[in-house]
Symmetry: C2
Subunit: 213 residues, 2 copies
DNA sequence: TAGATTGTTAATCGATTAACAATC
DNA sequence: TAGATTGTTAATCGATTAACAATC
């Protein structure tokens, strides 16, 4: 008789992750309770929206008082799935990949980097952080001996589609794609999340331009 | 008698940037014409939506034929504001900042990194790529002698809000914020675009979880 | 209790999509 | 011309917000 998970839109998921980030900050500074209005103000949102998003969690606040920070953190993590550790591999150890591998924020949210792969034979065997870079060809066998949840893809555009197939064949269900090209999954079950830092700058540029007119 | 710029939603802006990325790929492979249906398929969108987004550009296609790739590229860049070079500075040269500074994708889309700043005296004077890291205190004077359009903020969470004020005081109208905390602009004219790589992984994790049930 | 804030409904707002006349 | 694809309207769909009863 588990309550069916309510349908949560992608927009809500993204906001929940932002709430989580703020709540973690608040917790670090010793705050135990918080109101929807305060969360909304910090993030520039409407307080109705915050309450509605939170209502998807199942967790409830206390009328007249607000929410318990610790409780909210835990229930957001439960819904996002980050109440456990996720094993992640990095595919493509170029400039960006190397940077991503050292990014602390991943580990802090429970994403544990357990392998790094590249196709450049000059890189194989060299180390990146505490990991040794492995041949892309060894991806599949590595995944048979390790339970891998997600892959971070940071290869050049023209290699991306081929590597996606290898990642899928290795049975990894989610790909964070930094390659600057749209890639297609073969299986409908594979989830691909696009990230493009240059596109983020372009979105910002668009916001700035009208002011210059 | 300039035509008033049509209202373009943020969702449309983001998609236009993705169209641009694909169109640039297509152009590299020698494609001169493209149809809304083909763009939509590549990106997993509806072709009506693609045509509607493109109609915001002013540029028109040819019925029965499609759009000219070169023309679309130029008009998307014009609307996003990337038909010119943007001068960008990096504030915060930690692990992530260092990585971002070497990222080729920025330069390719017309974002030119012209300065790097940090508050750690041990880093001042050392180089990052072709740039010499400057004191954060020198940000303001640097901006007086250089026309800076955007700042990439990659400092720790607890320093972020203070640095945002300095960036605003230096007259920079747009900030790409990688610091894992919500920051407030003092001026309403300042545009802040949030990017959080850990949040992208969380969004992906949420997408993957239901499959495991 | 009185004051405050949640949880939720109903109204509003905006974005997506189907459909098709226009036209290359 | 016949076939194809755009540009745009109208319908649908979904997300946001205002408002307020419930209740701590």
């Amino acid at each position: 008789m588990t309550k069916p998970r309510p349908k949560i839109s992608k927009a809500t998921v993204t906001r929940l992750a932002f709430y989580l980030r703020e709540l973690q900050q608040m917790q670090r500074s010793g705050l135990a309770n918080i109101q929807s209005k305060a969360i909304a103000e910090r993030l520039g949102l409407n307080d109705s929206q915050v309450r509605r998003d939170i209502s998807c969690l199942g967790t409830v606040g206390q009328r007249g008082v607000g929410y318990r920070v610790q409780e909210l953190i835990e229930s957001i993590q439960r819904v996002l799935g980050t109440d456990r550790t996720w094993n992640v591999i990095l595919v493509g150890v170029g400039n960006l990949g190397r940077a991503l591998s050292g990014y602390r924020g991943f580990e802090q949210q429970g994403f544990h980097l357990v392998g790094a792969f590249d196709s450049d034979s000059k890189k194989i065997g060299t180390s990146i952080g505490s990991l040794e870079i492995q041949r892309l060809d060894d991806l599949s066998s590595f995944c048979q001996s390790h339970q891998i949840d997600l892959a971070i893809l940071a290869v050049p555009a023209d290699a991306a589609q081929g590597v996606v197939r290898e990642i899928e064949n290795a049975g990894i269900p989610g790909i964070l794609n930094f390659a600057p090209i749209a890639v297609q999954a073969t299986s409908k079950r594979t989830i691909i999340q696009e990230v493009d830092l240059a596109i983020e700058l372009q979105r910002l540029a668009f916001g700035v331009v009208p002011k210059a007119q």
